[in-house]
């Protein structure tokens, strides 16, 4: 630190000397300009970006609700090479048993398995961290591939981190018994800002624009027009924007509180608000407890109808595009099983979330009542960092 201060003072003096050679009027401006130059130089970051830790993670995940059960294992391994590059590989399985309300009222329940693998690399150079990734997801009637690049840059002495990201996805869409018949393309652009406010508070701002083109619905889902079931018809393009603002702070020793708000809108006329509030606390030497509550609310897409009263070019009865809200309390317990400082650390995690969805314009055809359902989301995880 002392060396940095000396260098800064030296640069300020040099800048003043150079500027004092200017005319008398110019000299009046020299001092503030030198100050500005010194200020700019002082924003040269003092700390470099660090690579993600070497880690191995194994997870069992479960979603159970609304007639759908999706579960399976997931694995992640991350290892650094020469402290400059980190390579990672992941594998994720989703075994889905689907007897959701769509399926039981308009089709037959089914089971299928989705497998996804991903590889990635992180490269740290001074105050920048560059991450590239590739992922491939495979199921009998849907194949997806994606590439992404993200750059994080620390500025202003490490007080501010700017992140820029881009993802590109390409999917093949199929139907059982018919094969692949269409495609979907996706583009995602991310911008993030993290700002240290005080030694205890950090604020974040995230923005993401997503564009899609191609077949953007389900090959199996039916819409309802004049009470009759017809295949859904979705637009072939969609573009959305979302912005999220959040803050997290240590409100008392070993305890933090966070709050987030996200606003979303898209070209299908969906608007959504997401609020989340939560806290984290160390309990004893080995436990870390997190609790949060998330409230989500959205308005329907222009072409969403529970039962369309007129023929339109586009029509959908996908309840994901309907007017609904959801409430989700979440609880996480992290147990530090073993720690050898400077060598390795093994932790066990139990995450549980209950989600309650309440639909405002989607009826259960069997009862004529507005539909609602609960869901359990569970993650059991063992992580080792070394």
């Amino acid at each position: 630190m002392a060396a940095t201060e000396r260098l800064r003072a030296l640069l300020r003096r040099a800048a003043r000397r150079a500027l004092s050679a200017l005319s008398a009027r110019g000299a009046r401006l020299a001092a503030p300009l030198a100050g500005l130059l010194g200020g700019a130089l002082s924003s040269v970051p003092a700390a470099a970006m660090t690579l993600p830790e070497d880690a191995a993670e194994a997870m069992y995940h479960l979603y159970d609700g609304g007639g759908v059960t999706a579960q399976g294992p997931a694995l992640l391994v991350r290892k650094s090479l020469m402290d400059k590059v980190t390579l990672s590989g992941s594998y994720y399985v989703d075994a889905v048993s689907n007897a959701s309300i769509d399926v039981v009222t308009t089709a037959s329940p089914y089971k299928e398995t989705r497998k996804e693998f991903g590889i990635g690399a992180d490269y740290a150079y001074r105050d920048s961290l560059i991450t590239v990734g590739y992922s491939s997801s495979d199921e009998p009637d849907y194949k997806a591939q994606g590439v992404s690049i993200d750059v994080a840059q620390e500025v202003f002495g490490g007080m501010t981190t700017i992140k820029l990201g881009y993802s590109r996805g390409q999917d093949d869409v199929g139907r059982k018994g018919e094969g692949f018949f269409d495609y979907a393309k996706h583009w995602r652009y991310r911008l993030g800002l993290t700002q240290i406010l005080t030694p205890r508070w950090v604020a974040t701002l995230n923005f993401e624009a997503v564009s899609d083109e191609g077949f953007l619905g389900s090959a199996y889902r039916a819409a309802q027009v004049f009470g009759a079931l017809v295949p859904e018809r979705n637009p072939r393009t969609r573009s959305s924007r979302s912005i999220k603002l959040g803050a997290i702070g240590e409100i008392m020793p070993r305890t933090s509180l966070h709050a987030d708000y996200r606003y979303f809108y898209d070209t299908w006329d969906i608007k959504a608000h997401t609020f989340e509030i939560g806290g984290s606390r160390h309990v004893g030497e080995s436990f870390l407890i997190d609790a949060s509550l998330r409230y989500y609310s959205q308005s329907k897409a222009l072409f969403y109808y529970d039962n369309a009263p007129t023929e339109t070019l586009y029509v959908s009865r996908n309840r994901q595009l309907s007017t609904f809200n959801s409430l989700a309390p979440n609880m996480r317990v992290t147990y530090q099983y073993k720690q050898v400082p400077g060598q390795y650390e093994i932790k066990g995690h139990l995450n549980y979330e209950y989600q309650y969805y309440k639909f405002k314009d989607f009826t259960d055809i069997r009862t004529g009542q507005l539909y609602s359902h609960g869901a359990h989301v569970l993650q059991l995880l063992v992580t080792a960092t070394f």
Binding site: G35, S135, S137, G157, S167, G192, L197, S242, H282, L381
Partner: protein
């Protein structure tokens, strides 16, 4: 007329210069006010919401396939929305 304008400009010049200098002075002294050695608390796990990428990815997937909205959660998207 021109002479009046020139005189007015000369009279205003120091004021404009002062305002400009004040603005520059206003910019220059801002320095990182939380020093690196004061950031120890920010590195605590309680200050990081997305501690495991597998968990963040699963949560993101569960929501993206059920909600009309997506994005701005700081998680890289991927896969398909079929379950």
């Amino acid at each position: 007329m021109n002479a009046i304008l020139v005189r007015a400009a000369r009279a205003l010049a120091p004021i404009v210069a002062c305002v400009g200098v004040s603005l520059l002075l206003g910019c220059s002294p801002i320095e990182p006010w939380v020093k690196p050695y004061e950031r120890e608390r920010l590195a605590d796990p309680i200050m990081q919401l997305q501690r495991q990428s597998l968990v963040a990815k699963h949560n993101e997937h569960v929501r993206e396939v059920r909600e009309g909205s997506r994005g701005a959660n700081g998680v890289q998207g991927g896969g398909c929305g079929c379950n």
